[in-house]
C-alpha cells in the first residue's frame, strides 16, 4: 500500500469510487456501475460516518497495529526489521450465498488433498492406476520418502489448510495456490478482525459480520482430540523456526491466543520415539505439535542434510505414533502446482464427485498433448518450474522477445517434465483507502480451513490481500502488498455473536507456564543486558556534563575523575593512556559520544540494544505488550542519525540518555508490578540482579578501593550513578564520607542499588527455583548463594575503608572483598547455567563411508 497519511493538499472528502474499465470483476460495483447489493449496507454506513471520521478511525487503527506489534518480517530487508502490518480499513465484503459456495468448495478441496496425501504416502494406487504421472511424485523434492508409511491419527494429514482464491471476470472463484505444510494467515486474519471491529464497531454490528471465534475454538478442540496418547490433558506446542521467520509475529500471537508454549527445535528432544519439551523442571512429554516450520527442516536426522533447525528423531516419533504433527511431515507435496492439472480426475476417483472450484488452468509439459498446447499458446501463459524451489521464478512469455520465447520453447522441449504452464489470472478489484481516496486494487483471498474433528471447517473470513499499485497484479506481503479484514455478511435472521474481545491487550502472560530452558536463558540474558544498558547510560550521563567546554572548570565531574573511572572500568582505549591526550576534554567527549551513538562500539549503548532486541524477539510471547512497547521505544530512540555538530551531538546524547534511563525504569516498574512471580520472571530478575551486582562491585572498586586521595569526587560520582545522592543526603545530613557510601552502596540490604540488596535477592530467587531430583541434600547453586550472602554480610565497614600505604594508598582489604564477591557471583552464574540453561548446539556427524 502507498503511504497512508492523508496529506493536506490531496485530502479527499468523500467515498467516491470507480472500478477500472477493462473487464475485471469488481467486488463492490457491478458492470452497470451500481453498488452490489451486499455492499450497500457497508457503503451507506461509511457515507453516514463521513470521510473525515473514517480517516480518524483509520489513524486509530494504525496506532492499534503499532501498539499490538503486528508485524511481518521481510526476507533480505537490509534493516532486518519487521515491517508494521499494512492493513486497509475498508473490509472486503462477501455475500452469504457466495461465501457458502466458497466454503463448500474449500472443504471439498481440503478433503481431496488429504485423501491424496493418504494415497501417496501409502499405497500409491493413484500412480499405479495411471491417474498421476510418477514424475510428479517420484521426481518431486517435496515427496519425503522417510515419511512414507506414516499414518497420522484418524488419517488426518492436513489438520489445517489454506488456499489462495481469486475471482474471475465472470464472478466465479478460482483456486490459485494450495498451502498445505504450515499455512500462515489465521493469526493475521484474527488481528485484522480485532483492528476493524475495534475501529468500526457500529459498522461491524450493523453489517451482521460472521464471527471468527468458533473457528479458533473448534481448531483447539480438534488438536486436542488428535493427540495420540490417552493422556487426559494433552500437551500441545507450537513449533517455530524462530524470529527470523517472516510470520514469526503470527507464531507468537497464536501461541498466546491458544496458550501453547512457543518452542524452537532446540526446546524439544526425542527419547525412545517420544517427543519431550525441555523445561526447567525436566522433560515433559509433548502430544501434539502445531508446526510452523517447513517439512524438510523438521527433522535434521531424517529429512534434510543441511539444516539443524528441527528436532532430530521427530519423524521416528511420528512413525511410532507417539506424537501428532499438524500438518503431517511431507504434506508440502500437495502444494506442487503441477498437481492442479490432475485434481478434477483425482476428485472423481477419490471422492466420487466433481471438483467444485476450478484451479487456475494448469498444464504439465511432461505429457505430450499438454506440452504441444503450451508451446502453441506460450504468450497467454505463465511458465513455472514443475517443482517450486527457492529462487526459481515464474516466466512471462508475453513480455519476451521472439528470440527469448524461442529459447524458452527449446528449454521446455529439452526437459518437458520440468515445466508447468498456468493461465494468466484476471484478479478482481476492490476499493482500497489511499491518500487519493478510494482506489481499485487487485485482490487475492486466502481462505483458511481446519479439521474440526469430523470434517473441515472454513474460517468465515480469511485473509484478504491487495496489490501494491493499481496496475499491479502481484499480490504478495513479501513484496509490500496490503491486507484487509474479510467480512462475510450473515443473513439478517442469523444470530451473530458479539464483537471479538481484544486479543492482544495489556495483560501480562503468566511467565511461569512450561518454561523451556532456552526461554529461561533468553530471559536471564534479557535481564543482564537491560541492566548493563542501564549502568552504561547512567555512567555516561553523570560523566558527560563535566566534559562540555563551558563547564570545564567548576560544575560537573572533573576530567581527572572521568579518566580515573573510564580507565578503571576498562572503557579507555589504549591511545588515551597517554596522559596529555587523556586530559583533552573534547576527545573524551567524543569517546563518550561514540558510546552513545556508535552502534558498533563494543561497550556502547547500541551494542546492548542489539542484544536486547534479539532476546526480546525470542521471548516476545512471554512479555506483556506494554513491556514490549517499552523495549520498542528504547530502540526507536536510537534509530535516527545523530547530529554531526559536536555541541548539538552533546545535547542530543544527554537527552537520549535521560530517555533511556526513564524507559528502563518503566521496564523495571512493569516487571516489579505486573508479572506473576513464576520461573520466567525469576530468571529475568536473576539476570538483572547479577548484572547490577557486578556493575556496582566494579564501581566500588574503581570509585572507593582504588580511588586516589582525597576521594570526594569519586564518591560523588558513585552516589550519582547509583541514584543514591538524595538518599545519602537525607540519611546522613553530612558531607560525603567513605564509610557512609560503603554502607549505602555495599552493605545496605534496604537500598535497591546496593550490592547486598542484589545478593540477598539472588539468594531468595535461587531458593525458589524448581528442584531436580539429583540426590544432593542442598543443590549446589543454593549453597553458593548462601555462602555469597554470608560473605556479603560478614564484613565490617571499618576494616574495609582502611587505606594501605604500602599499596599506593589503595584500600586493599576492600578490593579483595569486592573481588571475592565478584567471583562468588560469577560462580553462581555458572552453576545456574549448568543446572538450568545449558543447551549445547547440535552438530551433524561427519558423513561416513
Amino acid at each position: 500500500m502507498k503511504e497512508p497519511s492523508v496529506a493536506g493538499k490531496t485530502r479527499h472528502t468523500d467515498f467516491s469510487y470507480a472500478p477500472p474499465a477493462g473487464g475485471h470483476w469488481d467486488e463492490a460495483i457491478d458492470a452497470s456501475g451500481r453498488t452490489r447489493p451486499h455492499w450497500r449496507r457497508l457503503a451507506g454506513a461509511l457515507r453516514r460516518m463521513g470521510y473525515a471520521e473514517f480517516t480518524r478511525r483509520w489513524e486509530a487503527g494504525q496506532r492499534l497495529i503499532q501498539a499490538n506489534g503486528i508485524a511481518y518480517n521481510v526476507y533480505g530487508d537490509p534493516k532486518g526489521v519487521e515491517r508494521p502490518w499494512p492493513m486497509d480499513l475498508v473490509p472486503l465484503a462477501i455475500d452469504a450465498d457466495d461465501w457458502a459456495q466458497v466454503e463448500r468448495a474449500v472443504v471439498q478441496r481440503a478433503t481431496l488433498l488429504n485423501a491424496l496425501l493418504g494415497d501417496l504416502y501409502g499405497s500409491q494406487r493413484l500412480i499405479r492406476d495411471g491417474l498421476l504421472p510418477p514424475a510428479l511424485i517420484y521426481g518431486n523434492p517435496a515427496f519425503l520418502r522417510p515419511c512414507h508409511g506414516i499414518v497420522p491419527t484418524a488419517g488426518v494429514f492436513l489438520q489445517n489448510y489454506a488456499v489462495d482464491v481469486a475471482r474471475a471476470p465472470n464472478g466465479a472463484w478460482w483456486a490459485l495456490a494450495d498451502r498445505a505444510q504450515a499455512p500462515s494467515g489465521v493469526g493475521y486474519a484474527l488481528e485484522n478482525r480485532t483492528v476493524s471491529a475495534r475501529t468500526l464497531p457500529g459498522l461491524f454490528d450493523r453489517c451482521h459480520v460472521r464471527s471468527l471465534n468458533q473457528f479458533f475454538e473448534a481448531t483447539l478442540e480438534a488438536l486436542l482430540s488428535l493427540a495420540p496418547s490417552r493422556s487426559s490433558n494433552p500437551r500441545i506446542v507450537l513449533l517455530t523456526s524462530g524470529p527470523a521467520n517472516e510470520t514469526y509475529f503470527e507464531h507468537s500471537f497464536l501461541s498466546r491466543h491458544w496458550g501453547f508454549p512457543l518452542v524452537e527445535g532446540a526446546d524439544l528432544t526425542v527419547r525412545d520415539s517420544r517427543v519431550y519439551l525441555k523445561t526447567l523442571g525436566g522433560l515433559n512429554p509433548v502430544d501434539v505439535i502445531l508446526r510452523r516450520m517447513d517439512d524438510t527442516f523438521c527433522d535434521p536426522l531424517e529429512l534434510r542434510g543441511d539444516s539443524l533447525l528441527g528436532v532430530a528423531g521427530l519423524a521416528q516419533a511420528a512413525r511410532a505414533g507417539n506424537v501428532y504433527i499438524a500438518n503431517a511431515l511431507g504434506s508440502g507435496l500437495v502444494e506442487t502446482p503441477s498437481l492442479m492439472a490432475f485434481l478434477p480426475g483425482l476428485c472423481r476417483t477419490l471422492l466420487g464427485e466433481d471438483l467444485r472450484m476450478p484451479s487456475v488452468a494448469t498444464w504439465w509439459c511432461g505429457q505430450d498433448a499438454p506440452r504441444r498446447w503450451v508451446l502453441e499458446h506460450l504468450e497467454q501463459l505463465v511458465i513455472k518450474p514443475t517443482f517450486p524451489r527457492f529462487g526459481a521464478k515464474a516466466e512471462f512469455p508475453a513480455a519476451m522477445s521472439g528470440e527469448e520465447r524461442r529459447l524458452l520453447s527449446q528449454r521446455i522441449e529439452a526437459h518437458p517434465d520440468q515445466y508447468v504452464a498456468q493461465e494468466q489470472v484476471d484478479l478482481s478489484t476492490t476499493p482500497v483507502h489511499t491518500h487519493r481516496g478510494l482506489q481499485p486494487r487487485h485482490v487475492v483471498l486466502r481462505v483458511l480451513a481446519a479439521w474440526d474433528g469430523s470434517t473441515y471447517r472454513v474460517l468465515p473470513g480469511g485473509l484478504t490481500r491487495v496489490a501494491t499499485g493499481q496496475r499491479s497484479i502481484v499480490v504478495s506481503m513479501q513484496l509490500g502488498g496490503g491486507s484487509k479484514d474479510t467480512w462475510v455478511l450473515g443473513r439478517a435472521r442469523e444470530r451473530l455473536e458479539a464483537r471479538p474481545t481484544p486479543i492482544v491487550g495489556p495483560e501480562s502472560p503468566a511467565m511461569s507456564s512450561e518454561l523451556s530452558s532456552r526461554v529461561a536463558d533468553n530471559l536471564f540474558w534479557l535481564g543482564r543486558y537491560t541492566e548493563r544498558l542501564d549502568a552504561t547510560a547512567r555512567l555516561i550521563r553523570v560523566l558527560l556534563p563535566g566534559l562540555s567546554g563551558e563547564s570545564e572548570r567548576g560544575r560537573g565531574v572533573s576530567v581527572d575523575t572521568t579518566v580515573h573511572f573510564l580507565k578503571g572500568l576498562s572503557l579507555l582505549p589504549k591511545e588515551f593512556h597517554h596522559a596529555s591526550i587523556a586530559r583533552q576534554w573534547w576527545r573524551l567527549q567524543g569517546l563518550l559520544g561514540d558510546m552513545v551513538f556508535e552502534p558498533n562500539h563494543p561497550s556502547g549503548i547500541g551494542w546492548n540494544l542489539r542484544q536486547i532486541r534479539r532476546l526480546s524477539w525470542e521471548v516476545k510471547e512471554r512479555i506483556s505488550s506494554d513491556t514490549w512497547r517499552v523495549l520498542q521505544q528504547l530502540e526507536r530512540d536510537y534509530a535516527g542519525t545523530p547530529p554531526a555538530n559536536p555541541d548539538r551531538r552533546f545535547v542530543a546524547a544527554l537527552n537520549q540518555l535521560d530517555g533511556t534511563v526513564i524507559m528502563l525504569s518503566a521496564f523495571a516498574g512493569l516487571l516489579a508490578e505486573n508479572p506473576t512471580r513464576g520461573h520466567g520472571w525469576r530468571f529475568l530478575d536473576l539476570g538483572r540482579r547479577m548484572e547490577r551486582a557486578m556493575q556496582m562491585i566494579e564501581l566500588l572498586r574503581v570509585g572507593v578501593a582504588l580511588a586516589p586521595f582525597p576521594d570526594d569526587a569519586c564518591l560523588e560520582v558513585l552516589l550519582q550513578v547509583a541514584d543514591s545522592a538524595t538518599t545519602y543526603r537525607s540519611r546522613y545530613l553530612t558531607a560525603i564520607r567513605t564509610r557512609f557510601v560503603l554502607e549505602l552502596l555495599l552493605a545496605d540490604e534496604a537500598n535497591p542499588r546496593s550490592v547486598a540488596f542484589q545478593i540477598a535477592a539472588l539468594h531468595d530467587r535461587v531458593a525458589q527455583l524448581p528442584r531436580h531430583d539429583t540426590g544432593e541434600s542442598t543443590p549446589r547453586e543454593l549453597d553458593l548463594a548462601a555462602s555469597l550472602l554470608a560473605q556479603a554480610r560478614g564484613t565490617r565497614i571499618d576494616d574495609l575503608k582502611k587505606r594501605h600505604a604500602a599499596a599506593g594508598g589503595h584500600r586493599v582489604t576492600l578490593d579483595a572483598h569486592l573481588v571475592t564477591l565478584r567471583q562468588g557471583v560469577a560462580t553462581l552464574s555458572n552453576a545456574l547455567t549448568a543446572r538450568y540453561l545449558t543447551h549445547s548446539a547440535p552438530s551433524r556427524l561427519t558423513s561416513s563411508f
Binding site: P134, L301, R319, S840, A841, S848, F849
Partner: protein, 297 residues
C-alpha cells in the same frame, strides 16, 4: 563365498557430546544371491533405545540414541554373509532406446518400480553436461548392457582415483569436470549420466572383499545398478571397471549416497570431530557358519 564383514565407525570429539541421535544402514540385504546368516551392531556407549525398521527402499535401518556424555562413539557392525554369483542374466540384446521407451511407458509393474530411479535426487541431478559425457557410449541401436559397460569403462579410464580430492559435498559437476574422486563420486557420475539418458540407475552401498586388488576396500564401497527391462537390475562397478560378483557384498541401495549413508547422526555438543572408518571383509570357511548356527540362529 562366505564372509565375515566387520565395519567399524569411530567418532572422536574434542568436547563431550551430551546426546546423540543416530541412524545406521549397516545390515547387508538378503538377496537371491546373498544370504545373511548373522548381523549385529554394537555401539559404545550403549544406546538407550534401539529401533529397527525397513526404509522406503527396503534397506534395514537401525536408529538409536545415546544419552550419556561421551567424547568417543563407536559402532561396529559384524555380519556373516554368503555371496553367490548374481543370477541376473541381463538381456544382452535389448537396446538402450527400448529400455528408455519402456520406462517412459511404465505400464508394467517392474518398469514402474524402476521409474523412481530415473529422476533427479539430491546428490545426482541429470543435465546437459552429463548427457554430453554419456553420448559417445550411447550410439543408436546399441544394446543397453554394452553401452553401460562402455560408459563404466570410460569412467574408470578417464577418472583418477583420488581419496582426498573430494568430500561427499563435492558437487557432481565438479567431479565430472575434474575427472577425479572416489567410488561415491564415480558411482554418482555414472548414475547421473544414465539418468541424463532417461534410464533408471540406483546407488548401491556395500563392501569389497579385503585383499583383492580393488580400489575402495578400506572403507565401505559403492557401485551402481542399472535397470534392464525384463531382466532386472544389473550391477556395475565403475571404480574397478568390473561387474560385481562374489567379491561384492550388497548392504543397501537408494537413489544416491544420501539415501544409504552408512552412519549418520545429530549430536549435542562435541565441538570438532574426527571420524575413523575401517572395513574388513574376510573369507571364512563353512565351519564359521556352523558355530554361528550353534550360537542360536
Amino acid at each position: 563365498m562366505l564372509y565375515q564383514a566387520t565395519h567399524t565407525t569411530r567418532y572422536l570429539y574434542e568436547a563431550p557430546v551430551s546426546h546423540c541421535q543416530s541412524e545406521v544402514r549397516l545390515t547387508p540385504r538378503s538377496l537371491p544371491w546373498q544370504t545373511v546368516f548373522e548381523s549385529t551392531i554394537r555401539t559404545t556407549p550403549a544406546p538407550v533405545s534401539f529401533d529397527e525398521r525397513r526404509d522406503y527402499f527396503g534397506n534395514a535401518v537401525s536408529a538409536f540414541a545415546i544419552v550419556e556424555a561421551h567424547d568417543r562413539f563407536e559402532t561396529v557392525a559384524t555380519s556373516l554373509v554368503r555371496v553367490e554369483a548374481n543370477p541376473v542374466a541381463p538381456n544382452r540384446a535389448a537396446t538402450w532406446e527400448d529400455a528408455r521407451a519402456r520406462l517412459a511407458d511404465h505400464h508394467q509393474a517392474a518398469d514402474l518400480e524402476a521409474v523412481e530411479f530415473v529422476f533427479d535426487s539430491p546428490f545426482v541431478a541429470a543435465g546437459a553436461e552429463l548427457a554430453d559425457y554419456a553420448h559417445p557410449s550411447f550410439t543408436p541401436g546399441r544394446p543397453l548392457v554394452e553401452a553401460v559397460r562402455d560408459l563404466s569403462h570410460r569412467i574408470h579410464a578417464e577418472f583418477r582415483y583420488a581419496p582426498k580430492a573430494t568430500t561427499i559435498d563435492t558437487p557432481l559437476l565438479e567431479t565430472l569436470r575434474q575427472r577425479r574422486g572416489v567410488c561415491q563420486d564415480f558411482s554418482h557420475v555414472l548414475i547421473g549420466a544414465l539418468r541424463s539418458m532417461r534410464l533408471a540407475a540406483r546407488y548401491v552401498s556395500g563392501y569389497l572383499r579385503s585383499g583383492a586388488n580393488y580400489q575402495g576396500a578400506e572403507a565401505s564401497h559403492a557401485w551402481v545398478s542399472v535397470y534392464v527391462p525384463d531382466s532386472g537390475w544389473m550391477d556395475i562397478d565403475p571404480t574397478n571397471d568390473v561387474t560385481p560378483g562374489t567379491g561384492h557384498v550388497t548392504v543397501a541401495w537408494g537413489r544416491d549416497y544420501g539415501d544409504v549413508t552408512p552412519v549418520k547422526g545429530v549430536a549435542l555438543g562435541g565441538g570438532r570431530q574426527t571420524v575413523e572408518v575401517d572395513v574388513r571383509v574376510v573369507p571364512v570357511d563353512e565351519t564359521a557358519l556352523g558355530s554361528a548356527r550353534a550360537g542360536g540362529l
